[in-house]
Symmetry: C2
Subunit: 372 residues, 2 copies
């Protein structure tokens, strides 16, 4: 038994706000024994779950994920009022994140909010300001950042293993031609739910661009890039093909996403992220959101040395690492996590705002609203 296991694990009691697909993924991950991923210092308790539609829905959800004895609520208000809940995981469609996270913070709860944080950067700023005023923990649940694979890649870059990084190209495109895959009311293409590929898929390539070109910079000298980009708009008015170009003085990041084509059309593990340096390249195999393979090319030319590493997923889907990080922050009294700092969430939301502005994509006022 490892040494760390002798220290009692810090227990965090979660309240799950929303009972849809991602809530189920996350909650099941909370219920996986952390020891299976080598984690002994924190533990997760699924204290409660709340559905906005009915108590039965919440009960059914808890039974389904394997936590039938946890508390079920038929409203979000009741959930966030539960004195035994330490932290709320916001798992609703992103059109609703702002309102739901506000509710939880106002109830005095710490919050982990699914990505994308909100619909626009101003909403995120309001949440951040509120959390800081109330001394509550707040984090955008960009799970990919917390993977051992991501941590390793950031380390490779920081150690200069591919020289100076000059460009990052990242893509997440899934062939789901909306005409045949989604009704116009589906969340992927429905403007009322902030549909489109940028917010849902594009956040992942953007995560790679920023975690390499921005996050690996010393914190005090990180500068937001200038942003341009473009979109094709689907018949419902949301984007189905988007490019975001992030330009720093010496580097450029290109994040792309598309609802019609495949990053990896022949399912052979095509690189979805290329981190290109003066002395080589790091390639991350598709998919950008949950990669398990990294190839490092050291040197350039026929003598370059190519080495691939696998990062197999331990039991669970992979959202548990962000939960572990949040639990450690709560244990240590930290109000935000270094891997996904609030300031960086804002900078990325601003990039998405900018490309939408360039392309004339604005969601209905009801969900762009800053009303608290």
């Amino acid at each position: 038994m490892p040494l760390t296991a002798r220290v009692e694990a810090h227990k965090v009691r979660w309240g799950i706000l929303g009972c849809g697909w991602i809530a189920s993924v996350f909650t099941k991950d909370l219920l996986v024994d952390p020891a299976t991923r080598g984690v002994y210092d924190v533990q997760h308790i699924v204290q409660a779950a709340g559905s906005s539609s009915s108590l039965d829905k919440a009960k059914e959800f808890l039974a389904d994920v394997g936590a039938p004895d946890s508390r079920a609520y038929g409203s979000y208000g009741e959930l966030v009022a539960d004195p035994n809940v330490d932290i709320i995981y916001v798992a609703t469609p992103h059109s609703h994140h702002f309102a739901n996270a506000l509710l939880a913070l106002n109830a005095g709860k710490h919050v982990v909010c699914e990505k994308p944080f909100t619909v626009n950067a101003e909403q995120t700023k309001i949440l951040v300001k509120l959390a800081r005023a109330k001394k509550l923990f707040l984090m955008e649940a960009v799970w990919t950042r917390f993977f051992p694979l991501s941590i390793a890649v950031r380390e490779y870059v920081k150690r200069g293993q591919i020289g100076a990084v000059k460009r990052v190209i990242a893509d997440l495109s899934l062939p789901q031609a909306p005409e045949t895959h989604f009704a116009d009311s589906h969340r992927m293409v429905n403007p009322d739910l902030a549909g489109g590929c940028l917010l849902d898929l594009g956040l992942y390539p953007l995560t790679w661009v920023y975690q390499i070109l921005y996050h690996t910079q010393p914190e005090e000298s990180r500068k937001a890039p200038s942003i341009t980009g473009s979109m094709n708009l689907y018949r419902t008015g949301v984007d189905d093909n988007t490019v975001v170009v992030c330009t720093w003085p010496d580097t450029i990041g290109i994040a792309t996403t598309n609802l019609y084509v495949a990053t990896d059309p022949s399912a052979i593990g095509t690189p979805c992220v290329k981190i290109q340096g003066t002395g080589g390249e790091i390639q991350v195999a598709h998919p950008a959101y949950r990669p398990t393979k990294v190839t490092v090319i050291r040197g350039i030319g026929p003598e370059a040395v190519t080495e691939s590493s696998e990062f197999p997923m331990p039991p669970g889907h992979g959202t548990h690492w962000e939960a572990d990080a949040a639990a450690r922050c709560l244990r240590d009294g930290k109000l935000e996590d270094d891997m996904m700092p609030l300031e960086e969430s804002i900078v990325i939301m601003e990039a998405m705002d900018k490309v939408r502005e360039i392309s004339g994509l604005r969601y209905p006022e009801s969900i762009e609203s800053l009303e608290q």
Copy 2:
């Protein structure tokens, strides 16, 4: 002996304006027997070459390429005045294309001008207007378009072999860190010679974007895309890292180029062009300017069928196909070639102008000048 060989080949007498590297490549290609590439209907005669610096330079050039008996001139003015020259190939640095092509057209010669056509779109427009007024043939020497490989790829796309094309991503990046590879006066980075990666390298990925997303459209309905993009600027003020995003209503093309990183770092034939459709993908292996391998993925997913085709280069470097095309136009009395129409050259020059404008890259007035 093939049937076509019985018809006498149409002979075109070339005058080579400029005696540098690309002049040598092109002239040697002119001297390759067209039969080695299956061409019997046209023939090329290297009638003369002109150097702006000295007669000896032109003589040396002609001896070196294997045409010691051709006429040598110590000035461009004498070259374009030679009544035995039908067509001038402009092979000077691109900062000088405008003036040199003007000189040739004004002397009543047909012109093939190396890529990029000129330094800006306005210069190209002046050349086009003049050529049309004088009923002279004019073409930008974008050799890659004339390769059997390019023709095949355009056919695949037109026949819908990968469904509807939604995105083209094309890159030409060569790891030539300018600090160590070039003096600041070198043409690659010298603003006085319109240095930087966009005009020299970026034209190739742009060629792929346009020959797929623009050129395969019916001629009457071709529309110029909206353009955005960005650049990093080198210490000399020219670009060393550039992205051009071309947006049509239903498709996006992304052309990238960089002087620090490699498109194909481990020299394994990494795709430099990805033509992504709803039913598969076409990949062209590096390099974008002279590719010899195409992979077509039909279908999406594990059942997709992947097929690679080689297009080995026949004797010569590969600029002979554009020369053949020009010769056929002269034979047929055509003033421009369908594969590289003048209007399309202008549209692409406008895209490059736009990205330079966005990034504040302007060459010295002497070479941006429209003075005739």
